[in-house]
C-alpha cells in the first residue's frame, strides 16, 4: 500500500527554478494525471518522484517513507518512458526479466513472472524477438510489461502513448485503465492530451510553469475551474472568455453586462466585487444554444458541420471571436447574425486576476 505525499517540492537547475513548491497528496490506488502545457515541469516532477532527478527542496514521501535520498530501486516504483527505452540488445523476454535478474530472483520465479506479464499484455508470441522487430504498440507493451513484473507500488508513466497512432492510443488507454483496475496500484501519468487526462484520471493535477494550478476530479475541473488557466486548459473546444462590467451585486450572484451581452445575472461569490469592476465570465462553447431570444448576438464567420454537432465561430460586436458548439446540424450562412443564449448558472465568473468566484 503506497500513497504519495509531496510537500512543497522544489527543483532548480542552477538559477532557474523549474518546480516551484508543489504540494500534493495521492491516495493509494489512485490514477493521477499531470497535465499542463509543454515545458511546465510535468516530466521533471515525475522524474523527481522516480528518483532520476535530484530534489532541491521539500519532502517526498512514498508510503510513509521519506524518499528524498532513496535510490530509485528502493522506492517501489516502476516507470514507462515516452521513448519506451527498451534495451536493444536483449530479447523481449530479457527486457521484461531484467529487473528480476538484477534483483537476483531465482530463474523459475523469473520465468513465471515474465510469462505472467506477457500473458496479461498478450505478447507471449513476442518473447523471443528483439525490440527492433516490434511495432510501436508492441514496444509499448513490452515497456509496460517491464514495469509490471516488478510489482511496484507506484507506476509512473511519462507520455507513454504519444508515439502511437490515434486508434492504438485509444486501445492502450483502455488497457492502462484496465491494468490500473486489476493491479490496484497507484499510477501517476503525465500527458498533455486533455482527452487522455479526462478519460483516465481519478484526479487531475494541472501544472503551469512549475506551479500546481488546481487538483481535482476531471468533472470538478470542468465545472468548477479554479482560475482562468485551468478553465482555458481543460475542456475542448476552449472556454469562451468575455470581458464585462459588473452592474449589480446580489447575495450570491452578480449581474454583468457589456457590449456583447445584455444584462445577465450569473451565480457567483460577490464579496470581493463592487459595481463597475471588470470581470471575465467564462462560457463553454457547448453551453451556448441558438435561441432567437438570446442576448449574445454575433456574426457567423466560420461553420464546421460534423453532423451530430455544428461548430460555429462568431465575431461579436466588440470584435472578439467566440466559438459555439450547437447540437445537431445547422445550416448557417457566413456573415449572418446569430443570437445565442446560455444558461447563466453554467457560466463561471473570473475576477481581474483570473481567480474564479464560485458560489459558496
Amino acid at each position: 500500500m503506497a500513497g504519495l505525499e509531496l510537500k512543497s517540492l522544489r527543483k532548480s537547475y542552477g538559477e532557474v527554478e523549474v518546480i516551484k513548491g508543489v504540494d500534493l497528496n495521492v491516495e493509494h490506488g489512485e490514477f493521477v494525471v499531470f497535465v499542463g502545457p509543454s515545458g511546465c515541469g510535468k516530466s521533471t516532477l515525475l522524474r523527481m518522484i522516480a528518483g532520476l532527478e535530484e530534489i532541491t527542496g521539500g519532502d517526498l514521501f512514498i508510503g510513509d517513507k521519506l524518499c528524498n535520498d532513496v535510490e530509485p530501486r528502493d522506492r517501489g516504483i516502476a516507470m514507462v518512458f515516452q521513448s519506451y527505452a527498451l534495451y536493444p540488445h536483449m530479447s523481449v523476454y530479457d527486457n521484461v526479466g531484467f529487473g528480476l535478474k538484477l534483483a537476483g530472483a531465482p530463474t523459475d520465479v523469473r520465468d513465471r513472472k515474465v510469462r505472467e506479464a506477457a500473458r496479461i499484455l498478450q505478447m507471449e508470441h513476442l518473447l523471443d524477438r528483439k525490440p527492433s522487430q516490434l511495432s510501436g504498440g508492441q514496444r509499448q507493451r513490452v515497456a509496460i510489461g517491464r514495469a509490471i513484473v516488478r510489482q511496484p507500488e507506484v507506476f509512473l508513466f511519462d507520455e507513454p502513448l504519444s508515439n502511437l497512432d490515434a486508434a492504438l492510443r485509444v486501445d492502450m488507454r483502455m488497457e492502462l485503465s484496465k491494468l490500473h483496475h486489476d493491479t490496484g496500484a497507484t499510477m501517476i501519468y503525465v500527458t498533455h492530451d486533455r482527452v487522455e487526462a479526462m478519460t483516465t484520471a481519478d484526479k487531475i493535477v494541472v501544472l503551469n510553469a512549475g506551479v500546481v494550478q488546481q487538483v481535482g476530479s476531471p468533472i470538478e475541473l470542468y465545472q468548477r475551474p479554479a482560475n482562468l488557466f485551468v478553465a482555458g486548459f481543460i475542456g475542448s473546444p476552449k472556454m469562451n472568455f468575455v470581458e464585462l462590467t459588473v452592474e449589480k451585486l446580489g447575495p450570491d450572484s452578480v449581474t454583468v453586462s457589456g457590449k456583447d451581452i445584455g444584462p445577465t445575472t450569473v451565480p457567483a461569490d460577490p464579496t470581493s466585487l463592487k459595481p463597475g469592476d471588470t470581470v471575465t465570465p467564462g462560457i463553454r462553447p457547448h453551453d451556448l444554444t441558438d435561441q432567437s431570444s438570446g442576448n449574445l448576438v454575433g456574426e457567423v464567420s466560420l461553420v464546421e458541420r460534423l453532423g451530430n454537432e455544428t461548430n460555429v465561430s462568431l465575431r461579436l460586436p466588440s470584435g472578439a471571436a467566440r466559438l459555439a458548439v450547437l447540437d445537431g446540424d445547422h445550416e448557417l450562412r457566413i456573415g449572418q447574425s446569430l443570437p445565442l443564449a446560455f444558461a447563466p448558472d453554467r457560466a463561471v465568473i473570473f475576477n481581474k486576476s483570473g481567480i474564479a468566484l464560485h458560489r459558496k
Binding site: A50, G51, L52, P72, R73, I77, A78, M79, F81, S83, A85, L86, Y87, P88, H89, F98, G99, L102, A103, S132, R146, R150
Partner: protein, 275 residues
Amino acid sequence: MKSRPSIFLGIIAIPVSALVFLVPFAFIILTAFKNKQQATLLDFSWPDGFHLWNNIVEVVTTRNWMLLTAFINSTILTVASVTLPVIFAAMVGFVLARRKTRWNGLIEFLILAGLMIPPAVVPTIWLLQGIGLFGKLHGPVLIEVAYGLPFSIILYRAFIATIPRELDEAAIIDGARPFDVFFRIILPLLWPVTVTNIVVQSVGVFNDFTNPLYYLPGNANATVQLTLYNFQSQFNTSYNLLFTNILLITIPPLLVFLFFNRHIVAGMTAGAVKG
C-alpha cells in the same frame, strides 16, 4: 544509372589497387619459397625448388626457438594492451558522456594532449628503469595502453553520446547499479566500436616494431617484429628466411582481420543512421 566515367574509373581502380596490395604480398610469398642464393637476387623469378618447409623450420628454430618465445610475448603484449584500453576507455567515455562536471573541459584537453604530444623515448626509459619495469613485459603493456587510450576514449565517448540516456535511466529504475548499467547495458551496445577498436589496436600493437625495440632489450623478451633482426645484418642477410619470417608473423593479424571483418564494417557505419 552509373555514368560512363565512374564505371571507367572503377575498372581502372580495381587492378591498380590489386597491384598495390598484392604485388608486395606475392613477392613475400615467392621469396619465402626460394633458397638463399636465389633469394639474394631479390627478383620476381619463379622459385627453383620448394624450400618453404626448410625455411620455416630454420626460422622457427633459430636462436633457440626464439620465434616461439616471441609469439608468446607478442600475444601477451597484444591481449593485455587491447583488453585494458577497451574496458578503461569505454568506462571513461561513459562517465565523460553521461556526467557533466566542470572538470570535463580539462579532462578532454588532457585526452587530446595524450593524442598529440609525441612520445619521448629517453625519459620513458628513465621512468621505466625508475619503477623497475624496464626490460619487462609489463612496461610496454602500460606504454601501449597509454598510447591507445586517448583515441579509444574519443571513439567511445562519441558513440555513447548517441545511446539515449533513457536507456540508463530505465536500467536504474529496474534496479541497476552503475556497474550493472555499464556492463549489462552500455558495453554490449558498444560492441561495434569495440570490435573496431580491438582490430585497430591489436594489429597496431602486434605489428609495433619500435616500442618493443626501445623498451624490451634482450632475446628473452623479444616480440615477433624483433625477430626480423635475426636474419638481417649489415653483411649477411638471408632474404629467404627473412621473408619466411615475415610470412609467419603476418598470419595472426590476418586471422584477426578475417574473423572480425564483418563486424568492422558494421562498426564503421553504426551510429551513422539511427536504427
